[in-house]
Structures are given as structure tokens and as C-alpha cells.
């Protein structure tokens, strides 16, 4: 029996249909607008990318291109700092930390249409671990001698076995962009959201949307939204700022505090201060026994009490306020509080007190004579701080430290050198007394700094390449760093590295000064941007950015 619809029902149905059609049209239009009109994002690379081969990346510009074009098995979420699935849907690290197995997504294509499979992962890992490659990405996996074994279980499953345990093994794959074994385009066939479409040496790199990118958004629309990214190679930061102000650029990464304030004065809505970054600036003394500096100075520099007193006499709040216009935090230790998991929250910033510093030095036999500090043998306490010329922030910090130490009778000479000369003194001739430099941390995991903390390593800068640890505390750091690297239990690793941080703060081989804030600028035209402290700050979610209005 047919039932006639009432007028109300008919009206409701008609309205419902109309609303549904309207919603569908709106959805289609929105989707269309985003999918077809994501626009072009423009920003600067500060150096020429040295390579487009993701396995050979060693500079920031190449790393940015790798981030935008490379498909990785797992990705560290720059917001939560947690590991998320990428090309791998799941993964498992063995208890001994030597083996990792990945289950891969299926039906994925490289940008040139070549299918992706476990064979490509095996190929990439074998290429990466070639000892002749000398790549920082590959070296991060090297913890023992021997070959890496790759076992392709099926097209979507692979097991990789390393010769020795690799701490934080799964997180290291965030940097490994998968290459195609079969594509004739080699590294230009990519699995990331964008692909290199054009490169004008010294001038620009054009990235276009990868039509085969596998990710979709919550509404099922294909990512990325952007049509292209235009990367101008521009080493001059003044030019970069001018072009941003003129609307020719959409983003500035790692903005200088001075430029941040200039921009904030005119366009406060475009600047972002994400808080303390992972990067640190530090001062250290030359503790190398064979260095060509007088023995009495070596004795000062090798004394923990002397280093602690110097640290106490430095007003870090002033460094932050005067040099960085408040866009920096007094540093606590080796890791910044921005590193949520690994930072030792028990550590507190060194309080500033020139009186306490002077008293500590007097307790060690130093004495003040006519406003000049002298050691117990009557030598005037005077030393030089070198830093790299052209870095105005380090030059200004050195001058402020010079003022601070003058208050306790120490005379400091500030010398600036160009970078190659400074590196030569630091790593080969050891002809220096103190240095101010910075550490750019890209890794959250302390394993990335093994070569800094192990006494035998090249980058143990205050006293590198020790045949055997020269001090008990360095021996203890060596033991703890090796212990954390050989454990797969995050809790035990954290306990070991917490103790390392405590020893470093007690002994002050590095006098950590400040952690710079992560500053950036994003044009109002860019939608979806949420700058973070982790690199790449502003375009970490490039696949979800778009330029213009939806």
C-alpha cells in the first residue's frame, strides 16, 4: 500500500535533498579549491644544496629538500616528538636492539610510477651503510664493525639486522628517505609529498606536488595541498627579510632575534616565538695537555673549581636580554628543556653571583691585587676567547662575558676568526684558550651526541681523542654513554643520561650559556602553519600547508 507523504514530510525531504546537494557541492568546491589551488609556497635556502641524494645529505639546504621530497618509514612528529608510521604501518625493534622489522604499506608508487616494496628498503639500507659513502645519516647507524643484513620476508615485510646494538634505532629512520631500486631516475624518484621539478644552480629549486603521494587528509583528499614550493637560494639574511616584507616570500625559518623584533614592530601577526630550541651556545676552555699554551693556564682550565667560578660569574639573564632581546633562555645543561623526554628536569640554571664566584676562586688560592685577579704563583688571570667572525650574537656574548669577568678581576681578550681558522685551532693546532661556539641539535636522542661526550672521540672538543679518559668524571661519562647506548630500555637509558647531564653541570667542561628560542615568520597568506622548535620549524607539516584562502 502506498502511503502518500504529507506536505510537511515532502517539504522536509525536499529541504534535506537540497541541503545534501548543497553540502556535496560545497564539499566538492572546497576539495577542488584545495586540491587544485593549494598555491605556491616560497621561502629561502641559505646555502646551495650540495646534493639531491638523500643518503649523502650533510648540509641544512639538502636536509630541507630531503624532508620535503623523501618518503620515510617512520617520522618523528615535530609537534609531539613521538614516532609515527610513515611508509611502514608498524615496526618492532628486537630486545638486543640490533634488529628492526618493518611491515610496509602496499600499493604505493614512487613519483615516477615505479612501485614501492621491501626491496627498495633493502637497497636503500645497503647503499646507506656503504662504508665509502661517509654520510652522517649512515654513520649514525654505525655502532660496531661488520655488515648490515637485510632480509626481505615479503614485498611488504623486511627485517634489518645491524652488527651491534644501535640505540634509538627506530627514530634514526626518520632521516632515511627510501630510494627506488628499479627507477632509472635514481634519487629523483621520490616517495615524499613533493619532487624536484627544476634546479637553477645558485639561484633556486622548484618542487612540485608528487602526484603519487600516498597520504590523504581526514576528508580523504589527496595531500599535499600545495601545488609547488619555490626555494630561492639566498645566503644574505637582510635580503631574505626584505623580500619577506615585500611579500615575495612566505616563510623565514630560524629568524634572528634582531629581525624578529623588527618584523614584530610592524607585523606582529607574522612572527612566531616557539620558545627555547634544542640549540645551545657554550663556552669552553682548552684542556688539551699538548696544547701550546702556558702550563699555569692549563692548570686553571683543567680545574673544575675555576670553570665553575667562571660559569657563576657569567650573567646569563643579561646574555638573553641584551644579546638576544629576550628570545633566549639561560641554558641549564647539555640538553634544552625543549627536549621533553631526555632533559633532566632536576637541573636548574646556574645562578649568577660574581661575589660567590670570586670567593670560590679565592678558596682555590687566587687573590685579588689592585683589581686584578692573580693565581697562587702570582700570574695575572688573563685569557682570550675566540669565536667565529661575522656571528654578531657570539661576538656580543663574548663582550658581555668580558665585562662580567672584569668584575672579578679577570682580563679577557675577545678575538674573532673566520671559521676555517677557528676550526684549525680547535681541532688541529689546539692554539686557543677559550672558545664560544654553538651546538645545533637535530636529534632528540643523546646517541646523536656520542661523538661529543666520549673522551676518545674527535668532537670531545675541550680535550679530544684521549687514548684513555684523563679524568675520573670523563671515564664515568664514557661508561654511562656506552651504557645508555647498549640498553633498549628507555627508562634505564634516561637514568644513565640524566647522570651524564648532572656530571656535565658539576664539572662544566662546556659552560652552557643560553638556548636560543626557535623564531620564525610566516606570512598571513599561508594557512595551516604551526611553527615548532624542531627542524624544519615552519614547514614540518608542508603537506598540509596551503597559500591563499580555502
Amino acid at each position: 500500500m502506498r502511503r502518500h507523504k504529507s506536505g510537511f514530510e515532502q517539504m522536509t525531504n525536499t529541504c534535506g535533498t537540497a541541503i545534501s546537494v548543497a553540502m556535496l557541492c560545497l564539499g566538492f568546491l572546497l576539495g577542488h579549491a584545495v586540491a587544485q589551488g593549494g598555491g605556491e609556497l616560497r621561502f629561502c635556502l641559505r646555502t646551495e644544496p650540495k646534493t639531491f641524494d638523500p643518503l649523502k645529505v650533510e648540509d641544512d639546504a639538502s636536509a630541507s629538500i630531503r624532508y620535503l621530497t623523501g618518503g620515510v618509514l617512520v617520522r618523528v612528529n615535530r609537534q609531539t616528538q613521538d614516532l609515527e608510521p610513515g611508509l611502514a604501518v608498524s615496526w618492532k625493534v628486537s630486545k638486543d636492539g640490533r634488529q628492526i622489522s618493518f611491515r610496509l604499506r602496499s600499493g604505493i608508487l614512487f613519483s615516477d610510477g615505479t612501485p614501492f616494496s621491501a626491496e627498495d628498503v633493502a637497497y636503500t639500507v645497503q647503499q646507506l651503510m656503504d662504508p665509502a659513502l661517509h654520510s652522517p645519516t649512515g654513520d649514525a647507524f654505525r655502532s660496531g664493525t661488520g655488515n648490515v643484513e637485510t632480509n626481505v620476508v615479503s614485498p611488504s615485510q623486511i627485517v634489518i639486522t645491524f652488527p651491534a646494538q644501535v640505540a634509538g634505532l627506530d627514530r634514526l629512520f626518520d632521516q632515511v628517505a627510501i630510494l627506488s631500486q628499479r627507477s632509472s631516475k635514481k634519487e629523483m624518484a621520490v616517495l615524499g609529498p613533493f619532487m624536484v621539478a627544476d634546479y637553477k644552480p645558485g639561484s633556486s629549486v622548484l618542487l612540485k606536488r608528487n602526484p603519487n603521494y600516498w597520504k590523504t587528509d581526514e576528508q580523504g583528499r589527496k595531500l599535499p595541498y600545495l601545488d609547488s614550493i619555490h626555494l630561492d637560494i639566498q645566503p644574505n639574511r637582510d635580503v631574505e627579510l626584505l623580500r619577506f616584507k615585500r611579500g615575495e616570500l612566505d616563510l623565514i625559518n630560524s629568524l634572528d632575534s634582531e629581525y624578529f623584533d623588527k618584523l614584530a614592530a610592524t607585523s606582529p601577526q607574522v612572527v612566531h616565538d616557539a620558545g627555547a630550541s634544542l640549540d645551545s651556545e657554550q663556552l669552553w676552555f682548552n684542556e688539551v695537555a699538548k696544547s701550546p699554551i702556558p702550563n699555569y693556564k692549563k692548570n686553571w682550565f683543567r680545574s673544575a673549581s675555576f670553570r665553575r667560578a667562571i660559569s657563576e660569574a657569567i650573567n646569563r639573564e643579561d646574555l638573553s636580554r641584551v644579546v638576544f632581546h629576550g628570545h633566549a633562555q639561560p641554558a641549564v645543561g647539555p640538553f634544552s628543556p625543549a627536549n621533553k623526554f631526555w632533559f633532566n628536569s632536576k637541573l636548574k640554571p646556574q645562578p649568577y653571583s660574581s661575589d660567590a664566584a670570586l670567593k670560590a676562586l679565592q678558596d682555590e688560592g687566587f687573590r685579588m691585587e689592585n683589581g686584578t685577579l692573580k693565581d697562587k704563583d702570582g700570574n695575572e688571570v688573563v685569557f682570550s676567547i675566540i669565536t667565529n667572525s661575522g656571528n654578531k650574537y657570539r661576538e656580543r656574548m663574548a663582550v658581555l662575558i668580558q665585562d662580567d669577568l672584569q668584575k672579578i678581576g679577570i682580563r679577557v681578550n675577545v678575538v674573532t676568526l673566520d671559521f676555517p681558522s677557528l676550526i684549525e685551532r680547535m681541532t688541529q693546532t689546539f692554539d686557543y684558550e677559550a672558545i664560544i661556539l654553538g651546538l645545533t641539535n637535530v636529534d632528540l636522542d643523546p646517541n646523536g651526541e656520542m661523538n661529543v661526550w666520549l673522551s676518545s672521540s674527535e668532537n670531545h672538543q675541550w680535550n679530544p681523542q684521549q687514548k684513555a679518559p684523563e679524568t675520573a668524571w670523563e671515564a664515568e661519562i664514557d661508561r654511562l654513554m656506552r651504557a645508555q647506548a647498549s640498553s633498549s630500555d628507555p627508562k634505564k637509558r634516561k637514568e644513565a643520561f640524566d647522570r651524564v647531564q648532572e656530571i656535565v653541570v658539576e664539572q662544566e667542561p662546556f659552560i652552557f650559556l643560553i638556548n636560543k628560542n626557535a623564531l620564525s615568520a610566516v606570512s598571513a597568506a599561508v594557512q595551516g602553519a604551526a611553527p615548532m622548535i624542531l627542524s624544519p620549524q615552519t614547514f614540518w607539516n608542508a603537506e598540509r600547508l596551503f597559500v591563499g584562502t580555502k
Partner: protein, 290 residues
């Protein structure tokens, strides 16, 4: 004709000798510069000891400057100019990619500089107005006092083309010579007589002034090329222009021996070619006058 051939042969010999010596001097200077043995990448904490050693070994290959230069010359004969240590790319590719921009910049910069020079110098010689002369002299003096880097930065700030900065760097040098030459030529008795007799200015210029000043102006033109090449380094580096000047700046900072030697040889070659060409053309003009 015979003397012209001898002159050209002498220039070619001097050019080859100077280029070879310039390249060797450049290599020696870079080799002796502090920090030659180092590579910024050594500070990357991710690199293993073996990788750091590999970086050092790569630099050690160039330790003996004479051996480096000899092998460089040998390779250069076959067209292989070596590989840049800092950029990791063949020097030949780097120079080929960046040469068009620098050549365009130099051509436009020099054209603008000479247009300005000749316009103002001729006006000064024609008009003989002390106010005009004072103004143009003051303008050229002002640009002479402003460092090239400041002019480059101003061009960035005002969004002006880099070629204009080069023109303004070269102009004050060329203007002083050109003005003096033209004023002197116009004050010659036969030109004063010609003017008094009512000969047209164009005829005086092209028949009586140009032939007299051409050899000297050509010599200044040759020197202005080397000035423009020198100016291209700060202009390209500060304006972010991807030319050979910027490459030279980067190579100097990175102690990039293969790249620096090649750029030195190239710049020496361009400068000498410009000077020698000016000299030979001047010789031809003078011999035609005789």
C-alpha cells in the same frame, strides 16, 4: 702590420705567463691561508672517526702546492678543472652555470657606467660650465668614497639591479679620466678655431675629438673591465646573485683550492684580455692616424 703582429704575439706570451703565474700564486696563497686543512663538516657529531679522517685525507691530497698545480694543469689540458671541495660539484659545471649571470651583470654594468661617463664628460667638455663641472665632480667623488659593499647593500635595499651598483662603482674611476681627456681635446687650438669658424659640434666630435682620445679611452675601458670584475664579487655576494663573484666569495671562505685557482685564472684571463685588446685596438687606431 709586422709591428702589430709582434705586439699581438707579445701580448699572448705575457697573457699566458701571467695566467700561469697568477694561478700558482693563488694556489700558494690559499694553501698557506690559516684553516686550509680544515673542513666545517668535521664538527658534525654524527660523523664517525673514519669519515672525519676521509675528509682530512681529501684535503691532504692538495698539501704540496706545486704537485697540486702541476696535476691541475695536466687535467686542465684535457678540460677537467677538478671538483670543488666545498660544493662537491665539478668546477667546470659551476663556472658554466654561473658565467651567464656574471657576464650579463658586467656587460650591463659597464655599458651603464660608460654611458654615464661619456654623457657627463662630453657635457662637461661642451658646456664648460663651472657649476656643472663642480656638480659632476662632486657626484663622482661621492661614489668614489662609498665602499662597493655599501653600494651593493643600497641596491638590495632599494630593489635596484646589481648592474646599477657595478655601474656606480666603475663610473667615478672612468669619469675622471674621460672628462680630463675630453676637456683637454676640446681646448686644442685647431678645435677652438674650428668652433670659432662655426663647424658643427657633431663634426668636431667625430672628426677631431674622437680620433685623438680613442686610444686613451680604450686603455681606460680595458682597466674598467678589471674594476667591474672586482666589483662583481661584493655585489653578487651581498645581493645574493648566483654568479662567479658569489662563487669566488664562497670559495675564499671555504678555502676551496680547486675552485679558487680556477676563478683566479679566469679573472686574470678576462682582465688581461680586456687590457691587451684595448692596447692592440689603440695601436691600430694610432697607426691609422699616422
Amino acid at each position: 702590420m709586422r709591428s702589430l703582429r709582434w705586439k699581438i704575439a707579445g701580448h699572448v706570451l705575457a697573457l699566458v705567463a701571467t695566467v700561469l703565474l697568477g694561478g700558482l700564486l693563488s694556489a700558494t696563497l690559499v694553501r698557506l691561508a690559516p684553516g686550509f686543512d680544515t673542513d666545517e663538516r668535521e664538527l658534525d657529531p654524527h660523523l664517525s672517526a673514519e669519515s672525519v679522517q676521509a675528509l682530512r685525507d681529501a684535503r691532504h691530497q692538495d698539501h704540496n702546492v706545486f704537485r697540486f698545480y702541476f696535476s691541475y694543469m695536466k687535467r686542465a689540458m684535457t678540460g677537467d678543472l677538478g671538483t670543488s671541495l666545498a660544493l662537491g660539484q665539478p668546477v667546470r659545471t659551476l663556472l658554466r652555470d654561473r658565467a651567464p649571470l656574471t657576464l650579463r651583470l658586467l656587460a650591463i654594468g659597464l655599458a651603464l657606467a660608460w654611458l654615464l661617463t661619456l654623457t657627463l664628460a662630453l657635457s662637461a667638455a661642451w658646456l664648460r660650465l663651472s657649476v656643472f663641472d663642480t656638480l659632476t665632480t662632486a657626484a663622482s667623488g661621492t661614489f668614489l668614497c662609498i665602499p662597493a659593499a655599501v653600494l651593493a647593500l643600497l641596491s638590495v635595499f632599494w630593489n635596484a639591479p646589481g648592474a646599477l651598483a657595478i655601474a656606480l662603482i666603475v663610473f667615478p674611476h672612468t669619469y675622471r679620466y674621460a672628462r680630463n681627456l675630453l676637456v683637454k681635446a676640446y681646448s686644442r687650438p685647431h678645435i677652438i678655431t674650428a668652433r670659432a669658424k662655426g663647424l658643427g659640434e657633431a663634426r668636431i666630435l667625430f672628426w677631431h675629438v674622437v680620433p685623438v682620445v680613442t686610444p686613451q679611452l680604450l686603455a681606460v675601458a680595458g682597466v674598467s673591465v678589471s674594476m667591474a670584475v672586482g666589483a662583481a664579487i661584493p655585489v653578487e655576494a651581498l645581493c645574493g646573485l648566483a654568479g662567479i663573484g658569489q662563487l669566488a666569495w664562497q670559495a675564499a671562505l671555504a678555502r676551496d683550492l680547486p675552485l679558487l685557482v680556477n676563478i683566479t685564472v679566469l679573472v686574470t684571463l678576462v682582465t688581461l684580455l680586456a687590457n691587451s685588446s684595448a692596447d692592440v685596438i689603440g695601436h691600430v687606431v694610432r697607426s691609422q692616424e699616422v
